[in-house]
């Protein structure tokens, strides 16, 4: 009882609870809510894009609006939907999987969420203040430079993404430290669940990739706000430099997105096959290798930029190499199912559907790696099809799988299986309908990012099919929302181990997990810790410590205020109202000062308060 002086229990309720929470499980739910909201916004943008393209020379939206839509669709889906939903799963699951009571830095966790959220809101405010960014999610200069983009759209992009990027970077660091330092006794690195490994490597990628983006964004911000010349050709700047900076971030970003999905799939397939993950150590090796190679291949996005044959040849080969570790993973999943006893829950449907779908996205990736052929694919609908196959067919199926799988652990209720399967089939069929055909559109000469096309080019029917597919995907998403509502109203309560075949530590504690997670830190005796105990005939984990008071961090409103400060500062500087910008920064620094000077040791939950919600199978 080292901190006996600090156990005045701070409890907040209602809205204040959510605004001040530093509990990773609640932050996970906040990430899910915000990410889900942005997912709907990005999805709506996608539907509008597809409506515009359903027939030649359509005028549903103007050329300018279309460019805003395509830019915001890409930016929103990558930064504000996919990443946060991954952070939702990370927050909801990682501490539970490694037997920890919280993340390493709960306050930072909250700060990460709020900066992401306000960065995303700032980006979307642009719709109402005279125009969203319209230079593509890649924001290539000079199109994004002040000379050719005179309104405020791209300013929202550079500043919104900087603020949101702070949140991502903080989150990455937090999970690195959490996974390195807070594993339960006995959980060595080579006993960590595959999802934890994936998040570990992802967090390392975030740590190295996001600063590159920030550097690029700051440089572009200086060009736009303060007339700097990083990318201004007339004054000796260079536009190819932006492409390098962007893709040195951008390519690892792709792996930041897909590795967690790999992790989810590994967990789900293994659980519902009732079988240990096949080739665990080679899976770990492949994940690390993909993470490493992910930094070596950025220039394959720039084959047509004119880097010369030596660079193109080297980056071609490096890119092809990534297929090897990815292939290892695919076959390991297939052989995990081989000889197993496969149960097709909705979570597993998404996972099993993921494998062949992702392979289809992967093989077009290898095709794109051949630089001379890429001269034909590049910036055509072939590329659009490819990256939607890996991001939607890979990541989004993975996220759906993970949400169906861990929903009971996050919310304590089982999602409706019928609606889950309906979601899967509509989304899955709609997805292939939308994007398979786009490969051919690209090969037949349709460039990407075009707001319209002439009649008679042979694009009409395929675009129509693609649009119908997009509506099916929308329908699938609506089924999922209905499922959430139905479950919230009348869902069946989940037990500790609702799938009955749980293998990892999160299934040893109640659903939803109590705020302290583990009444007693468990002792891990092998890979698939819970499964091992089950096979040894134990109903629960062996505790590694006696029951005692549990130290908890205090909730705090400061992260919210800090993010609001950054939001205000961003808006102020964008419109050259420096006193407003200064005021925003003042709020930020004041909060930091309070945080530094105020002594807060958190509080303790005493043993008698732990009730009867301990570590039970």
């Amino acid at each position: 009882m080292a901190h006996a002086h600090a156990h005045t229990v701070k409890r907040r309720t209602g809205l204040m609870d959510w605004l001040t929470t530093v509990d990773h499980k609640k932050i996970g739910i906040l990430y899910l809510l915000a990410g889900g909201l942005f997912f709907l916004v990005g999805g709506l943008e996608a539907i509008m894009i597809r409506i515009q393209l359903w027939k030649p020379l359509n005028d549903f939206v103007s050329a300018d609006t279309y460019n805003e839509l395509l830019t915001m669709h890409g930016t929103t889906m990558i930064f504000l939907a996919a990443m946060p939903m991954l952070f939702a799963l990370m927050n909801a699951v990682i501490p539970l999987q490694i037997g920890a009571r919280d993340v390493a830095f709960p306050f930072l966790n909250s700060l990460g969420f709020w900066t992401f959220f306000f960065g995303g809101v700032l980006l979307n405010v642009s719709w109402f203040t005279g125009g969203a960014p319209d230079a593509g999610w890649t924001s290539y200069v000079p199109l994004a430079s002040p000379a050719y983009n005179t309104d405020y759209g791209v300013d929202y992009y550079v500043i919104g993404l900087q603020i949101a990027g702070i949140g991502t970077l903080i989150g990455g660091i937090n999970f690195l430290v959490t996974i390195i330092n807070m594993r339960a006794p006995g959980m060595t690195f080579m006993r960590m669940p595959m999802f934890t490994w994936a998040i570990f490597v992802t967090s390392a990628l975030i740590l190295f990739a996001f600063p590159a983006l920030t550097v690029g964004l700051v440089a572009l911000m200086f060009d736009r706000l303060f007339e700097a010349n990083f990318f201004n050709v007339a004054n000796g700047g260079n536009t190819v430099l932006w492409e390098h900076i962007f893709w040195i971030f951008g390519h690892p970003e792709v792996y930041i997105l897909i590795l967690p999905a790999f992790g989810v799939i590994s967990e789900v397939i293994s659980t519902f096959s009732r079988k240990r993950l096949f080739g665990y150590s080679s899976m770990v090796f492949a994940t690390v290798l993909i993470g490493f190679l992910g930094f070596m291949v950025w220039a394959h996005h720039m084959f047509t930029a004119g880097l010369g044959p030596v660079a193109n040849a080297l980056f071609s080969i490096a890119t092809m190499l990534i297929a090897v570790p990815t292939g290892i993973k695919i076959f390991n999943w297939l052989f995990t199912m081989w000889g197993g006893s496969i149960k097709f829950t909705s979570a597993n449907l998404f996972a099993v559907g993921f494998v062949p779908t992702f392979v289809m996205g992967g093989v077009t990736g290898v095709m794109l790696a051949a630089a001379p052929a890429d001269f034909q694919y590049h910036d055509s609908y072939f590329v659009v099809a490819h990256f939607h196959y890996v991001i939607v067919g890979g990541l989004i199926l993975g996220i759906f799988s993970g949400l169906h799988y861990w929903w009971p652990k996050m919310f304590g209720k089982m999602l409706n299986e019928f609606l889950g399967k309906l979601t899967f089939w509509t989304f899955f069929i709609g997805f292939h309908m939308t994007f398979l055909i786009q490969h051919f559109l690209g090969l037949m000469g349709m460039p990407r990012r075009i707001y319209t096309y002439l009649d008679g080019l042979g694009f009409n029917e395929m675009n129509l099919i693609s649009t119908i597919g997009a509506f099916l995907m929308g329908l699938g998403t609506i089924f999922f929302i209905i499922n959430i509502i139905v479950t919230a109203v009348s869902g069946q309560k989940a037990s500790n181990d609702p799938w009955e075949d749980g293998r990892t530590l999160e299934w040893t504690i109640p659903s939803p997990a109590p705020e302290y997670n583990f009444k007693q830190t468990p002792l891990v005796r092998g890979y698939d810790a819970f499964w091992k105990e089950k096979m040894d005939g134990n109903k629960e984990m062996t505790p590694a410590e006696p029951i005692g008071p549990i130290h908890m961090p205090s909730p705090s409103i400061l992260p919210l205020f800090m993010a609001i400060g950054l939001f205000i500062a961003g808006l102020g500087f964008m419109y050259h109202k420096y006193y407003i910008g200064g005021a925003g920064l003042a709020i930020l620094f004041l909060c930091m000062l309070i945080r530094s000077l105020k002594d807060d040791h958190g509080f303790h939950i005493e043993p008698e308060e732990l009730q009867d919600k301990g570590v039970k199978a």
């Binding site: 050709v233 079988k275 930029a305 292939g327 052989f335 095709m367 051949a370 001379p372 034909q376 000469g445």
Partner: protein, 358 residues
């Protein structure tokens, strides 16, 4: 109960269809799958090799998936615990080595083509040199050997290497003729600011006479979708005629009112013959082109709203260029000039034809 077969059953025929589609797909003047020149041919060869390898991979994965899904699904009442296999070194080595071999098969011709297609013909005496400059939202073609400057339609002789050096006058664009050659970015700020550091080179060749569609492939602003151009391959004699015709003087209209309107409005930006400005598309042979502004298709048999006769298209363009091509820099003339003047100008421009094809 869900039908567990569906995943594979639906996708396999789709992939079989790929091969079918590849054999004959898309317009000959637009599709990468229907190459019309040696460069596109070589790129298509690489695509076919890659697609074949990838279809093999996909079939293997689909077959195993299908087998596993069917064979190892949990039957009702089945409660056995499967053997917990840790891995299998032999298998794992197999699926590491086989992909490596497949990649080597793809990598060797890739590297070969990377260097082959990067060959520089800009010093070759037999090659036709063209400096391509992209603008928002039109293409400028300059033949340094003949000092000819045209726009929107790149006229080339058949059977000759065309050595392109490409740069941009404003933002990034990409120069793409799908049926003849893959694309190259046009970077800004080439010659004057940085030496020639950012100028990109490529070459292509069109053995057969014909018109090939060109596209801008890099997002360049609102009218990116409309930044089309044409490559017109003609036999060598016609090309010689074309060169001569380009140098011939072009008469301004005889009607003094129309002539004045052209001199005071058009020629401040555009060139006609040896008069006028060079910063915007040259109009000397605009009546011969198959489009106006790259996107209004000239035809006597209009079928949809971007088709019309040359004269109608010119009128539509002059009246309000931004209604056709959002973001175009040319101002609208419907309130600046009278209807008669616009009619006269359109009629005159539609008549600016050069007859060079034998």
């Amino acid at each position: 109960m869900m039908n567990r077969w569906n995943v594979g059953k639906r996708l396999l025929p789709l992939f079989a269809g790929i091969m079918l589609l590849l054999s004959a797909c898309g317009r000959a003047d637009l599709s990468t799958l229907n190459p019309q020149g040696p460069v596109a041919e070589e790129q298509y060869g690489l695509m076919k090799l890659a697609i074949s390898i990838m279809i093999f991979v996909v079939i293997v994965v689909f077959a195993i998936s299908l087998y596993v899904i069917v064979r190892f699904r949990r039957r009702p009442g089945d409660n056995k615990i499967p053997v917990q296999v840790e891995g299998n070194h032999k298998l794992e080595i197999i699926w590491t080595v086989i992909p490596l071999i497949l990649l080597v098969i793809l990598a060797v011709p890739t590297v070969n083509s990377v260097f082959g297609l990067a060959k520089d013909y800009s010093k070759d005496k037999d090659a036709i040199k063209v400096e391509v400059t992209s603008h928002q939202f039109w293409w400028e073609f300059y033949y340094p050997e003949y000092d000819i400057r045209t726009a929107q339609e790149l006229v080339i002789p058949t059977g000759k290497k065309i050595a392109i050096s490409a740069k941009s006058g404003d933002v990034m664009h990409a120069f793409w003729i799908p049926s003849l050659a893959g694309k190259i970015d046009t970077n800004p700020g080439a010659a004057d600011a940085n030496g020639t550091a950012n100028t990109n080179k490529m070459y292509f060749e069109a053995p057969k006479a014909g018109v090939y569609l060109g596209k801008c492939a890099e997002l360049c602003g609102p009218s990116h979708a409309l930044m089309d151009f044409k490559v017109k391959a003609v036999d060598e004699a016609s090309f010689e005629n074309w060169k001569t015709a380009q140098k011939a003087p072009v008469a301004l209209p005889s009607d003094p009112a129309i002539k004045d309107a052209i001199v005071s409005n058009c020629l401040s930006c555009h060139a006609i013959g040896d008069q006028g400005g060079l910063s915007f598309p040259n109009l000397s042979d605009i009546g011969s082109r198959s489009t106006v502004g790259g996107i209004l298709v000239n035809t006597n048999d209009a079928k949809y709203k971007n088709e019309g006769t040359t004269e109608e298209n010119l009128k539509r363009w002059i009246e309000d260029p931004n209604a056709v091509k959002p973001g175009a820099l040319m101002p609208a003339f419907k309130d600046e000039l009278s209807e008669q003047e616009i009619d006269g100008i359109a009629k005159y421009l539609a008549g600016l034809k050069i007859d060079y094809e034998k």
